[in-house]
Symmetry: C3
Subunit: 673 residues, 3 copies
Amino acid sequence: MGITRVPGLLYGGDYNPEQWPEHVWAEDARLMAEAGVNLVTVGVFSWARLEPEPGVYRLDGLARVVDLLWEHGVAVDLATATASPPAWFVREHPEALPVTADGVRLEFGSRQHYCPSSPVFRAATVALAEQVATRFAGHPALAMWHISNEYGDHITECFCEVSAADFRRWLAERYGDVETLNHAWGTDFWSQRYGSFAEVEPPRTAPGPGNPTQALDWRRFSSDALLACYQAEKDVLDRLSPGVPVTTNFMSMMKHLDYWAWAAREDVVSDDAYPDPADPNAHITAAMNYDLMRSLGGGKPWLLLEQAPSAVSWRDVNIPKTDAQYRLWSLQTVARGADGVMHFQWRASRAGAEKWHSAMLPHAGTASRGWRRTLRMGADLKALAPVAGSRGTAKVAIMLDWDSWWAAEFDAEQHPSNLVRVRELIRAWYGALWAANIACDFVPADADLGGYRAVLAPNLYLATAATAASVTSYVDAGGTFATGFFSGLVDEHDHLHDGAYPGAFRDLLGVTVDEFWPLHDGEHVGLRTADGEEFTGGVWRDHLDTTTAETIASYADGPLDGRPAVTRNAFGAGAAWYLSTLPDAAGLAGVLGRALREAGVEPVGAAPAGVELCRRGGYLFVLNHGDRPAEFTVPGGRALDLLSGEQLGDRVLLGPAEVRCLAPAPSTTETTP
Amino acid sequence: MGITRVPGLLYGGDYNPEQWPEHVWAEDARLMAEAGVNLVTVGVFSWARLEPEPGVYRLDGLARVVDLLWEHGVAVDLATATASPPAWFVREHPEALPVTADGVRLEFGSRQHYCPSSPVFRAATVALAEQVATRFAGHPALAMWHISNEYGDHITECFCEVSAADFRRWLAERYGDVETLNHAWGTDFWSQRYGSFAEVEPPRTAPGPGNPTQALDWRRFSSDALLACYQAEKDVLDRLSPGVPVTTNFMSMMKHLDYWAWAAREDVVSDDAYPDPADPNAHITAAMNYDLMRSLGGGKPWLLLEQAPSAVSWRDVNIPKTDAQYRLWSLQTVARGADGVMHFQWRASRAGAEKWHSAMLPHAGTASRGWRRTLRMGADLKALAPVAGSRGTAKVAIMLDWDSWWAAEFDAEQHPSNLVRVRELIRAWYGALWAANIACDFVPADADLGGYRAVLAPNLYLATAATAASVTSYVDAGGTFATGFFSGLVDEHDHLHDGAYPGAFRDLLGVTVDEFWPLHDGEHVGLRTADGEEFTGGVWRDHLDTTTAETIASYADGPLDGRPAVTRNAFGAGAAWYLSTLPDAAGLAGVLGRALREAGVEPVGAAPAGVELCRRGGYLFVLNHGDRPAEFTVPGGRALDLLSGEQLGDRVLLGPAEVRCLAPAPSTTETTP
Amino acid sequence: MGITRVPGLLYGGDYNPEQWPEHVWAEDARLMAEAGVNLVTVGVFSWARLEPEPGVYRLDGLARVVDLLWEHGVAVDLATATASPPAWFVREHPEALPVTADGVRLEFGSRQHYCPSSPVFRAATVALAEQVATRFAGHPALAMWHISNEYGDHITECFCEVSAADFRRWLAERYGDVETLNHAWGTDFWSQRYGSFAEVEPPRTAPGPGNPTQALDWRRFSSDALLACYQAEKDVLDRLSPGVPVTTNFMSMMKHLDYWAWAAREDVVSDDAYPDPADPNAHITAAMNYDLMRSLGGGKPWLLLEQAPSAVSWRDVNIPKTDAQYRLWSLQTVARGADGVMHFQWRASRAGAEKWHSAMLPHAGTASRGWRRTLRMGADLKALAPVAGSRGTAKVAIMLDWDSWWAAEFDAEQHPSNLVRVRELIRAWYGALWAANIACDFVPADADLGGYRAVLAPNLYLATAATAASVTSYVDAGGTFATGFFSGLVDEHDHLHDGAYPGAFRDLLGVTVDEFWPLHDGEHVGLRTADGEEFTGGVWRDHLDTTTAETIASYADGPLDGRPAVTRNAFGAGAAWYLSTLPDAAGLAGVLGRALREAGVEPVGAAPAGVELCRRGGYLFVLNHGDRPAEFTVPGGRALDLLSGEQLGDRVLLGPAEVRCLAPAPSTTETTP
């Protein structure tokens, strides 16, 4: 069973019928069927059409589209259409437009022009969702609900008076009384004490640096405010259309929203993924994002809800994808757990802000390279249908905690260094796993770690006592834990833990840090391991003393020359590693490789450099990201390639950008139910 | 007959008598006469003096100045004095101050502090213009009217409520009904439909990218709003002072104002030209601007209304001109069709924002290098008097269309690349003509092209069906057309033309473009012609297929290696060339040189590199921009040099920065009446 | 007698007891005593605690802290606690929040959130100061009063309506009538005349460049507005607590406040000094700032009121100090006239914006390198106690005038170059003195120069007639004067002086400047002296003619090749030097070295490069800033090192970062009473 009741893998894209005269709809439906499309997302930006005047709903046109699609075998991921309120709404409720930290009220004319805390906005979305749900709940084409669109893409926060009141309400709920808030925010610093919640405002632009805990709570609140918008619509759908899965499209590893909290409210996790063809390592960052999506859903198949068939239109310079790159990157999402490949958008627009964005059906129509690419992907996904529903497994977890991320970055101008970028640190560590074909999950800070042989926290600036206890008992019971610099330092209020650094992890890691010696942009420090391996580190350095830990690598130059840099502490039945700098790729591969080997972690398989291996259920995906042919040894000596239908022998030669999906031959494929 | 009734070439500058006590006026008039000055611009910033209180006009001081000047033989380009409203106006009408896209109302204290749509501002300017025109209409010194100053230098748009209402009025006139606007703006994208014009606002800062057609119409409207300010005053002058030519000073090839529309309302086209002495190619850009000025006036002589005698004061670092550079660059304007050389300003200010700007009479007074320079220019222009009124001709035209420029750049963050700069593309193509001493005009998109052997459109992103038809029939009838990448793609609403790229020009060019492959900043691609010439391209690449065209040059590296890059399509009796990248200077010289040779275009003459040749009537200007002496062969074997009065033989050696103006010897000089 | 009644040198830091539970206070007092701390600054940010509700004062907690400190021998620099108004104040008086030039009202949540002209803010500070002064005036622990904190750190100006009215009042006082203002501001330029003071506004964001004299007066007013805040509190303290010295902490050589005017209202000049450990020349800039502090107090000992024990938290990347660096830099302040070494802050915060700032008592507590450093400094300062009260002398003065600095930089976008940075020019010239161990003072433009052998004005763009007369008669009487490019040009209204450049100094310098040829960023010009020394110049060039001056160095390349660059004019009994560019370090050393030698200026002593010598009374400080050992010859052949207690012979070897304080052995040390 897949993520929707549509069998096999999902294939399609955003479809915006209001941009086209009705006669084009018929052509679209026919071409979709020809391409093997089985699902399209409809109505994301249809509000102005569906509710042309306040309270006047016109759903017939949408119904004709859905009927037509269904006649051609195309199901719908139906939007509640609330992503962008119409002009009339904004003119009736100007106070629902969002406001910046400088007090600028943003204007209609783009999209996502709403204050997340606005009661009139939420009421209008709920009313529209009710109309849409009522009309389409029983429609046979309905496969999934799609709420709003890319929450937080433009508006991650609003500083208006309505939001301020909502923030005070949220704070009152969190803290109960203002003295508790005063303590949490450390308001005795700089004379910032509040006499009542009524005195509190959002962190608008101020004369100098603001209160760090206020900034942290503001991020928590802002994520929650958008989530409340989502939840209000979700409640409607659950009530009026029970059993139909609901999603909203995520934006990969996005900083502003706590996706752990969001994913818990979703039936299907879906992602909009836009790797940059101009980035030679885009596929590694992409893999990381896909593993996150799989993890957000607890391992369930997820859905690639948007990708570009070729170029996007919003970077400074937008390079197209080659045909091979498009195929490789699309199938990589399936390899990493996606049960469908969807696109923005089906038919290229002739007007509007995204008319230069590529589409499944290009401006040139079917006599184009783009259309041939679309046809081939339909065939590929059909061939991979047996994979649907299957899952991967991992023995390594990367801990990702939005609270910690926010605390690390939203007050960075008052930190030892403002060059600490949590996503980049995670990406660097992830890269070492990717290169070694070691499968990994992402976990939240409060996860049960018991199932993992190793847990990595590239940065965990904020670690609550509970997190510290969880990690400590995990290691004590035999787990391996590795963390990086500037971790374990503060609690949930961004207050320092007691005693020497790194507070919460000091005993576990068996080290103390006397002072931080961050590195300037582009500056590097040399390191050397006991057995003479040399590499460099960036971003950070610690003046570090070992207490119970052993030194794995030491600084080899600069003011800390000879002092410990990377350490390992035997703790209980396990081990805890500390990296006081960000090693280069070779250094990370060496250090993490050793830690994971000791922990008994095994790679998915052996492959040449640049060849990615992913296991889903009984299937093994082999993806050659290199620009040269690569020879791969087939496990077990034989396999069926689902994509080509070929029976493979001992070895298979993959051309550049080639993909194989190996099923154990000649057995029939198995799927996880 | 010159552009005014002042005989010969005009010489002078801005004169701001209110900055000086009256006894200085007499010295000024005497020194002007000594320097050969015959025209000064008076009163540009005199509003606060002429109307010290609302409705109270004090013109006697100005009259004394004008009388005094005329007594010394100096005529006036008289300003309506409306460039900057006084403080009392702003305090009485704070709503007439301009507002930014962020809602900041800009303050008094600089200049040009007005909302172009403000009715009270327009009324006040009309009232002042009436007073000035009534008083001075019959004054013998009056040679020309000067309205406002450098429209659009600081304020190119205003986002206030008054402007918003004016924008809605403009839109209602353009579109008639809101459904037509909805279609033109493509408002079905992102749910942007309007129910009435009343819902439309200016494109103020929004959460994300705005509507591209709204942005385009906003630019059209904003140019028109400023033009309406000009026209309101022009109507007064035409009524009260018929027959006296009217101008407003342009700012060279300025992006924000559609100078084709503006020039049509002017009696004399005038320009403020500020080439940067620190730019080694400033003279080429300058030549381009001067050709544009000549073209805006339909070939008539134009007027250099402002240049700096030496350094300006508004760049980061302001380098003076050397004496030779000043002379060379001043006479270049005459060579390119100017009938006068005017300056900002006559006497250097002792206070205020531009006191560090150079002047004809420097701070040090007449005992200065600057004053000697001023005297010599007076003599030079007197020697060149016979040139006045003569015209040049050209067989090549460059198409410049502001609609297309705006569409190409004001939505660039949603384009395949935001590095497309129309002026830079035109400048690059123009540079190839300049280097070959090929005369050229600029033409609007709706021009009659019949008189040209070749028409170049370095970029024409927006090409209406009418433009496409005009260009196509021009080529069909034997013309040569060449255009660059990202051209012919959208119509007047910024909607894509049907079918494969490049829509409007597809058949004419005999190519289709599958996808765009823009280049990153600083990135270059190699090219090679059939006969082995190699050069590089920047900014852009196309995945290009020829249908009926032949390939002139192909890509020689990168993902498009071997594919067509530059093509030529025989079409009817003519030829259409397409350049899918921006070739380097040598590449452009080769490609355009070949196209123009085939079209039968001939250069003005032969000259060493760096020597500029310009023909005006029977005169040939020879300007050596190189830093070494250059030998020039005199056409016909003999000539009179108007500047030196020398009779020249076969050959003449020009020192660095030297200028000659050759009249066919020994005939008397002829001028166009 | 020291600067307070606390004997010896002062040692301590900011103490913020409200951040800690009361039981920590006792530990703090005990540890302070252990470290030799004898003064702490208390209450800087206590307003919200001391006045928790409007008019309700709670001073008992503060009194318990002060009592406890005094019991442990620690005196207090007691704050009036007015640096940051509480939340209730801001909510009651939102109009007292400061407003930016764009009209953004800045929010509570940081610090210094007040409009300097706000009457309610000033009244509230006076009321609080009265309460604190009344309570603590007679307390035995009270050693000094500390008003507010780092005036101008965040808020240097406010553009609100209240400030606008205060600005108009200030202008009316300065100019008497509006015609005088019109003349001073040169409002005839750009039609800016005012009909009354009521029409004048602050220089808010305008369409283009503003009026330079308005900008200059705005800076004068803004410095005065903050000074009025200070003075209002000072009046209270002088009345209620006579005899107790009052200070406010300066921020080194700060551009926005005219510290000459401020220092005249202080009893003790104090400084917050934060040299960057990542800057290899930070100690030279620091020395300059310390000489300024000494000079601001007329040569009296000053107080280092804040420095960081190690890293700060507000740079992009914050490097700690090494132990040696901390000691060297701390004792350098004493060497340059400080009578105390204070820190921000005593105990590291666990929360708030500056929790990552280093402290005397680090997060790790007493088991830390930081604490050992704190103990050692206590011992060092005790050993140096005899130095307290002694003074240095100098025969060279650097002229620093804030009016000129403001005029040079706040209108720079309309200057020949906007790359002129007055502080950097002073720093460059100062560096030549520092390297030669030549002691120098700073003096204001209206100083009596009689006591100096040489006066240097690296830049004095604005020089009033009085300043010009003072400098001229100083040179005439035998003094040596040297000044740099872009000096002597404008008067107090930023109007040009008459005649050729450099107006006010033309005759004195014996040169005229025809035009300025500023250099682009990173561009350099070659120079050569008559005897063949070569060096380079940056920032600027002049087209210079000598009238009576001799040429010391000429340009050696570029458009001014061969023309004079550095000149010397014998004038009366003295000499006046002009540097038309900024020579590199070697060039400056050569030119200034020659000028000072001729003037009979002698260095403090002879020392290897990188070794700093400072004399205070009978003491000679020797500081090795190099990273190698340096040998120093002891003047007189023997001396006592106060720091080590060692009797030194002929020579002493200083290790890297080592410091000696030589007292003439075996005499007892003498102090200035």
